[in-house]
Symmetry: C2
Subunit: 177 residues, 2 copies
DNA sequence: CATGAATCGGATGTTCCGCTTCCGGTCAGG
DNA sequence: CCTGACCGGAAGCGGAACATCCGATTCATG
């Protein structure tokens, strides 16, 4: 593959990631191409259609999340700390994209499998955190995952924005009614 | 006005409120009409275009919120309790609609004025809650309002869903780092 | 009950927007 | 210098949603 082609492919991925994270799943192909400083034709040379691009991004992001979660889980730290790190790692990445993709039929088997793996990992971390008493017990792991989704997958989410911080604090156990 | 016309107008408003709250601002006129058990023609008889309907709903909801907030603020309870009641009152109403409308130019002056009033009320409640020590001080009132917007305006929000509860708990002051 | 005016219903017309294609021009690499 | 891979963006295409229009229907009144 020619050098400029490879460079342009990277630009497309970077720009697409950025735009999806900022504005959500509705971003158009034209916008992505323009943000990359390229024409739409070039975009379609690298990804045959929108779904191909989205799937590619989603799979990379999910695999990255899975690996990161596994790595943190292997550390000798509290499960709560694991959860915090994973959440902070996610915010600002295009997960809005992923969940919207994961829910709808056209998700590929590969993507679905990744979603299952990630969900399983998260559930395990959350349950253990509840067991060790660092995460409130009055909500189910599924509810916690749902919560995290809303907060982390919102367009424009940042690792250290107020909502993320407040939500994490609210998840701690405590004398709160 | 004929009795059936009045009844149908009510149905339209009810259905539109419901759909906007559930699915967000993207709901189509056809969907609203169908949910009301009516044809689109009837919908357009009562509201000349989409903006008219949306503006009408937004103004009602904002006025309702303002009045409710004022009423709670007049009670002899902590500002924190006021805030909690206002938040719970909002969740499940079509505020996603309102904020998306308030931000864009085509908002009418009346709507803009209502938004200002509501924001002023909220800011005052939040500041006083911080003063009385029932609301954490490490975030600004504007950030708190932003937070509330995300949580309360999300399609499908419920007054007692986990995210609302967790976020309110996270807003309390405490020994958290 | 009869009448006609108000109201309804939904097929139709229109516009807009985003995806995708296509091909002439350009450029990297040998 | 030459060639084939690569790029750019104008144009084609399709779907979706808004808004209109008019025949059918329903309410209210004498």
């Amino acid at each position: 593959m020619r050098a400029d082609a490879r460079r342009n492919r990277e630009r497309i991925i970077t720009s697409a990631l950025d735009l999806f994270a900022k504005y959500g799943p509705g971003v158009s192909m034209e916008d992505i191409a323009q943000a990359a400083g390229l024409g739409v034709g070039t975009l379609y040379r690298h990804f045959p259609d929108r779904l191909a691009l989205v799937t590619d991004l989603a799979n990379s992001a999910l695999a990255d999340l899975r690996d990161h979660a596994r790595a943190q889980a292997a550390e000798d730290i509290s499960r709560w700390e694991v959860l915090v790190r994973v959440v902070r790692h996610c915010a600002g990445r295009p997960f809005a994209l992923i969940t919207s993709l994961a829910g709808t039929p056209p998700a590929t088997p590969g993507t679905q499998e990744l979603v299952r793996e990630v969900n399983a990992l998260l559930a395990e971390i959350i349950e253990k955190a509840q067991d060790e008493g660092t995460l409130r017990r009055d909500i189910t792991p599924e509810q916690v995952v749902g919560l995290l989704n809303v907060v982390v997958c919102r367009p424009g989410a940042q690792p250290d924005d107020p909502l993320t911080t407040v939500m994490l604090d609210g998840l701690k156990p405590g004398g709160r009614r």
